[in-house]
Structure formats: structure tokens, C-alpha cells
């Protein structure tokens, strides 16, 4: 018997928009830097905090695990917005990711550079961002991704067709019951209408036991140990040979704190699981080589890994979110025509899906403050800062079209510098 765990960690931080008011618009083009040290809207502070709590201790343990267990494998995806911030504010963390990837046993996946939902709004912009990400990964890690994952694991048949055409060998999605029906997520699949590409589906039950429930003392299975988790894995039916554990990297140390014992769990799990002969770890690429697809999967509607609805409603479920998204993509052509790389960069940073997530009113309404993670006091405040930044972007676009005219005028008047 043979069984493989495919561990995939998603590493990402957005550029949160600082408390940016209508009085800043037109005056100060800096939307993302500064703010009070210790504020949840100060990106630099957040990078420092998360580096200390999560990135540094987790990478240290992962590296040790790779040294201890020659069979241990994992995969990560790491966004361009985070890589930039690590280069600026935590280069030692970037080095530790480079060390991990240099082992050759950590596969890096492809995604959009800006962690955006561009696939659903502008195919051109989407492809550009995927290219930018590939180049960044090549430049920093000297590898080229072969497996694709879209922002928030947002997936549908069209995306699979696109990924196959773009040359990817595999793609990731949520193992959502409504799609699987009687089938298990613990098999290799193939997207409907494709020839070569493979589909890996997240086992959300086992993934979320670690990512969401690990430190929940009201959970019947608390405390979760490496032994108990391994027992669950070993108890799966024999034909279920592939277990896809997909989660946020920040699960380790940030969502689940050190005090919860999450690092001990991480350090022990690979050894514990591989005690049973035949049990191993695989990267997505290895899993695609090892396992034949069992069936076709049809997902005409977009499925994500968020909430009980598993749709895009956490990002575009309300009027503010739709307004913001409509606005940002409506100015695509105008922004591109300016040719101003700083302006284009800022526009792209505003596409990161987190901005729209902060505007979500679903949990805010229910009054479920604890489940509600947001650096802004309310979804409305998130919208206000975002739209003020949007005002400024639009103003910059207008100004940039005026400039050549002004320049010509100045030259004619002999005032050019």
C-alpha cells in the first residue's frame, strides 16, 4: 500500500491601504506606507510581527524536517506583494525561503503576482500578473512553476482550460462536497474538457482541522496531536492514496499561536506519519506522476476555499465590493496608457483580493466579532480608505494625460528643465 500527503502552504500578505482620507487624495500618492507603528494598517509592522511569530520559526522547523527526513516534501506559493515586502523589510526571511527551495524538495506554485481576482475581470491583466509572478520566482528562487493555483483557490472549468493551454501540469481547487458528491477528494482528478492537466482537490476536513480548529478548546478532538492526526490518515480507505492538505502558511504561529502547540505538531507530523512503511510526502508534480486520474471533475460555477458558501461572495457579495471592483477594472486601459510604472504598480496593488475581503459585511452583520478578521474598524471604513486611494489613482491618470500638453507648452515657452 502506498499513501502520500501533499502539503501545500500559501504564503501571502497584501499591501493594506493605510488610513487614507479624502484630504490625502490629490496630495499624497502614498497609500500603503507609514501609519502608526503597532497599527494593523502599518504593513511594515505587520511584516515584522508575522516574521517573528510565523515565518522565522516555521521556516526553521521546515528546514530541519527536510534535513531529518529525506522523503519529506512540501509545496508553497508565495505572492509578489509579500516577496516585495520581504525584500524591503525582512530580507532574512526571504533568505530562509531561498534555503528551503534550494533543497529541491519544496515545489513553488504559480499564481498571480498581486493575489488578485483578475481572472474574473480582465484576462489580459490576469495573464500579465501570472507572467510577472513567474519572472519574480525565477529571479529569486531560480525555479519555474509547473502547477497553478488561483487566488483564494477560486476555480472553474474555464480556469482549468486556460491553465492547460498555458502549459501547466496541474491545478489546485477546493474539494467541495457539492462538486464531489459521492466521490472523495483523496484521488487524482482531471478537469472536464482537458487532455493532460491534473486537478488536485483540497481535503478541507483534514486541512481545516489544522488550520482552523487546532487551538479550539471547544472542539471535541482538542488537543490535536501528530499521533491522532496520523491515526486518522492511516484509517482512510486503502484506495484513497492522496491526501491534499492545503492551508495558509500563517497557520503556523500566526493563526494558531506558538502556545497552542502548533509547532510541536508540525515538527512531529512527518516522522509520525512516515513510521508506517508506504506512507510518504509528495509535491503536486510528484503526485501527478504517481497517481492516475480517477474521474473528470466539472465545475462550471466558480468555487473558492472560503466560508460555508465556497463561492466568491466574501469578495464581491455586497454593493461596496462590486462598486470597488468595477471601479478598479474600469480604469485598466487608461492606467496602462499612462505608461507610468509607479502608477501601474499602485493600481495593481489595489487589485489584491484582501482589500475586498475587508469590505465584507457577512460576519459583521452577524455580530460574530471573533470570526471577523479585519484591520479596519468596520467594512465601511475599509471601503472609504480604498475608494479615497481610487480617487487619487484616477486623478493621477488624468494628470498624466495633461502632462505632455503642459510639457510642450513649457518647451515652447523656453521653460523646460
Amino acid at each position: 500500500m502506498k499513501r502520500a500527503v501533499c502539503l501545500y502552504l500559501h504564503v501571502h500578505q497584501p499591501y493594506r491601504v493605510r488610513n487614507y482620507t479624502v484630504f490625502d487624495a490629490g496630495r499624497d500618492h502614498n497609500y500603503f506606507l507609514g501609519g502608526e507603528w503597532g497599527s494593523d494598517l502599518n504593513n511594515q509592522w505587520i511584516i515584522h510581527k508575522i516574521a517573528e511569530k510565523s515565518y522565522v520559526p516555521t521556516n526553521y522547523r521546515l528546514l530541519k524536517l527536510l534535513e531529518q527526513h529525506p522523503e519529506f516534501r512540501l509545496s508553497i506559493s508565495i505572492t509578489g506583494t509579500l516577496l516585495e515586502q520581504l525584500e524591503m523589510w525582512a530580507p532574512q526571511v526571504l533568505t530562509s525561503f531561498q534555503q528551503l527551495i534550494a533543497t529541491g524538495r519544496v515545489e513553488v506554485l504559480a499564481e498571480t503576482y498581486y493575489h488578485s481576482l483578475a481572472f474574473f475581470f480582465s484576462r489580459f491583466e490576469f495573464e500579465k500578473q501570472v507572467r510577472m509572478h513567474r519572472e519574480k520566482i525565477k529571479q529569486l528562487f531560480n525555479v519555474t512553476p509547473r502547477i497553478f493555483r488561483n487566488t483564494e483557490l477560486a476555480y472553474n472549468n474555464d480556469l482549468a482550460l486556460w491553465a492547460e493551454k498555458a502549459g501547466y501540469k496541474g491545478i489546485l481547487a477546493e474539494g467541495w462536497d457539492k462538486i464531489l458528491r459521492h466521490r472523495t477528494a483523496n484521488h487524482m482528478y482531471q478537469p472536464v474538457g482537458t487532455d493532460t492537466i491534473r486537478l488536485l482537490l483540497k481535503n478541507y476536513k483534514l486541512s481545516d482541522d489544522i488550520a482552523f480548529r487546532f487551538s479550539d478548546k471547544t472542539w471535541a478532538e482538542w488537543p490535536l496531536t501528530a499521533e491522532k492526526f496520523t491515526h486518522w490518515l492511516n484509517a482512510l480507505p486503502e484506495d484513497q492514496q492522496l491526501v491534499n492538505l492545503f492551508m495558509d502558511y500563517e497557520t503556523f504561529g500566526e493563526h494558531q499561536w506558538d502556545e497552542s502547540g502548533i509547532f510541536t505538531f508540525l515538527s512531529k507530523l512527518p516522522g509520525e506519519f512516515m513510521k508506517l512503511s508506504g506512507n510518504t510526502f509528495m509535491t503536486p508534480s510528484e503526485a501527478i506522476e504517481a497517481f492516475e486520474p480517477q474521474d473528470f471533475i466539472d465545475m462550471p460555477e466558480t468555487v473558492t476555499w472560503a466560508d460555508t458558501e465556497r463561492d466568491l461572495s466574501a469578495w464581491l457579495g455586497n454593493a461596496m465590493q462590486q462598486d470597488a471592483l468595477d471601479n478598479i477594472y474600469a480604469i485598466e486601459d487608461a492606467v496602462m496608457r499612462t505608461g507610468d510604472t509607479t502608477l501601474i504598480g499602485d493600481w495593481r496593488r489595489l487589485q489584491t483580493s484582501d482589500h475586498f475581503y475587508y469590505m465584507c459585511t457577512k460576519w459583521f452583520n452577524d455580530g460574530d466579532v471573533h470570526a471577523y478578521f479585519n484591520p479596519y474598524p468596520s467594512p465601511y471604513d475599509a471601503f472609504i480608505s480604498y475608494m479615497n486611494a481610487m480617487r487619487d489613482i484616477k486623478l493621477r491618470v488624468l494628470q498624466s494625460f495633461e502632462q505632455p500638453a503642459k510639457q510642450e507648452h513649457n518647451e515652447a515657452m523656453g521653460e523646460a528643465d
Partner: protein, 406 residues
Amino acid sequence: MLGWELPPHNSGGLGVACYQLCKALALRGVSIDFVVPYNDRHDNVDFMEVIPALPYPRQQLAAAGGAYDSRNFSEKTPRNHELPKGLREQQAAYTEAVCTIATRKKYDAVHAHDWLTFEAALVAKQKTQKPLIAHVHATEFDRAADVHFGGNPLVHDIEYTTLSQADRIVAVSQATKDLLTSRYAIPPQVIEVMHNSINPDELVPLEGENSYAYLSLMKQYGYKVVVNIGRLTIQKGLTHLLRAARLVIDKDPSILFLIAGCGEQYHELLELSASLGVSHNVLFTGTFVHGKQWRDAYAIGDMFVLPSVAEPFGITPLEAIGYGTPALISKQSGVGEVVRNVLKFDFWDIRKLADDIVAVAQHESLQAELIQNATDEFNTMSWHTVAEKCLQIYAKLPKTIGAASS
């Protein structure tokens, strides 16, 4: 129950809160005698007995000083059988009357609303030998809009004396409870937080053309309207709203402000708006608005602002939401503890307030989300829930006051 006003003879939220609480309690079988200082008809009250303590009509008394006039309050000897001139005399006469009323029946408890009745409350407690509930709708610190040094020391004395002898204290918000603990040294365990509420089904529907014809027309030209309704007094923080208005108008001159109400700050606010150069955009009614004018003021707004420096509760944002207008509430207002889908700002942070006003005025999606979600919250509110809570507080009271100290 001891109170100072009931609708329609009220000048603020205190009377409304007393009325709604009593009505919901009466529905649950509580028999209430409600003592007011004046003698007027209450055709709207058939669920309890309203007992006049003094033989004068409300208007005559109000001219001498109303429920919110604590700053003019001073010590003077009351003269029997003459029209009481000031608040102090009204209050002394009220206390005397309560002294008689308290012995007429066998009551189970004394429930007193705010400082004006607090002296009478102590007498009533003594006469009836029954437990006293002191219900705090506002403290002197709130009325003076100064949490540290503010207010009339005489009033503080009355509040302190009664609060420290009450068997139970009811505060209309957690913020008020915190204030009672920190500024009056009341142990937190004797204070219950019981928020005010609103009955959505009792909101009088809008009808006919809006009373504010000018604003209606301007809205057709794309103007937006920011509304405030309340007393023009320092507690309400309207100078901050005017300063924010200056910033707003710089960004967007098509935003108008309607300030509906009157009060001792009226002329000061007029002058301030002139000196800020915003008079063209800021409209004052200069009088209290009632009935249709009052409802229409809420309805004409694209948003309602409550910029209070100190507001133990503050019902107006809920009424605004009831009339379809989203609310912006200062963080210093207790009502913010019961409604989440509003914008909140520190009363002194005029840049944040101005930023919020411009955003709501310019983004329909924001306005729509705010009001839609706030309406969902509004529809779950009810004074019946408050009455249930009040009954629980009554049930926990000692049967006689002798037992309270043991």
C-alpha cells in the same frame, strides 16, 4: 415610578424612554404609578396612572427650567403654594408631594429616573421601606460634556447621595456604567446595563410632500443632505460638526447640512457657521421640530450625524435608520453599543467625520450597504426585550430594604 416628563410634554429622549419602558412593563402585568412634576393631560397613556405632583401645567414649569437645565440649578428656599420659580423649588415641591403619594398605596419598589427625581426617590424609599432602583439616563458629567471637571457640584451631590443609597442602579449603556464606576465610585456589581430601544412598528409613516421644500429641490439637482436633530447644547458636539462641515464643503460644495432643534447654543452656532463661511450650506430650523417636520427631517437626509461629546444613549440615530437614513455616530455615544452598521468617529476627529460624510455622499454603494444592514438590525429591536430585562432586575431585588444591607 418617579420621572420628570412624558410625551407629548417632553423636551428630549428621557420622556420617550420612560414612556416606552412603562408601556412594555404594563403589558407584562406591572402596575405603575408614574409621578410627574406638572399637571397636564396624557391622552396617550392608558396603561398606568400618571400622578401630577404640582398643580401647574407643563409649559408654565418649563419656562422656569426643564429636565436638561441642571447648569442653572441653585439652592433656594421653596415657598409653599406659590408657583415654583426655579428648578430647585419645583424639585422641593415634587419631593414633598412624593412624600404624600408614597404612603397612599402599598408599593413593591421605587424606580426613579435621573437626578431631578433623586431626592424624592430617597424620601420614597424611606416612606415605603421598599427597594430603590435609580435609573441613570444621563449624569451631570454628560450634560456638562466634561468627564473630568464638568457640571454643577450641587447636582453631583444629589446624584452621588442617591446612587450610593440605591438598591440597584440601571445605566443606559456600558459607557454610562463605566462612568458611574469611575466618577461616582459605585461598585460595578450593583449596576445593570439596560440599553434603550425602539419599537420599529410604532414609527409613524411618512406622508405627503417633505416639509423641507428647499432641500427636496436641491436634492433633485444632485445635492446631498446631512441631518442632525437634537438640542443645541454643548453635550451634542455641534461645533465639531460645523468644523467638519467646513472641510466637507471644501471637498464637495454640493453637500448641505440641516441642523434641526433649538437650545442655548443656537446663536453661538449661527455665529460659528458664519465665521467658518459655511452659512450657505448649513440650515438651522432654530426651533424644535415635532411631528411631520421631525419625521421629514430624518427622511430628507442622505445621512444622519450624531456628533455628541457625551451621550449616555442617544436614540436619534435609530430613528434615522427607521426612516431610511444611515447614521454616523460619535464613539462617545452609548447607542453605538447596540448598532454595528454605522460609521463611528471620535467626536474631536473632524477629519475622520468629514472623510466619512464625503464618502457616504459620493458612494451610493456605501450608503446602500449601511442602510440595508442597519435596517436589518433595527428590525430586531424592541422595548419588549428591554422590559424583560427590567423584570429580571425587579425579580432580583430584595423584598424589603432591611435585607439589602445584609
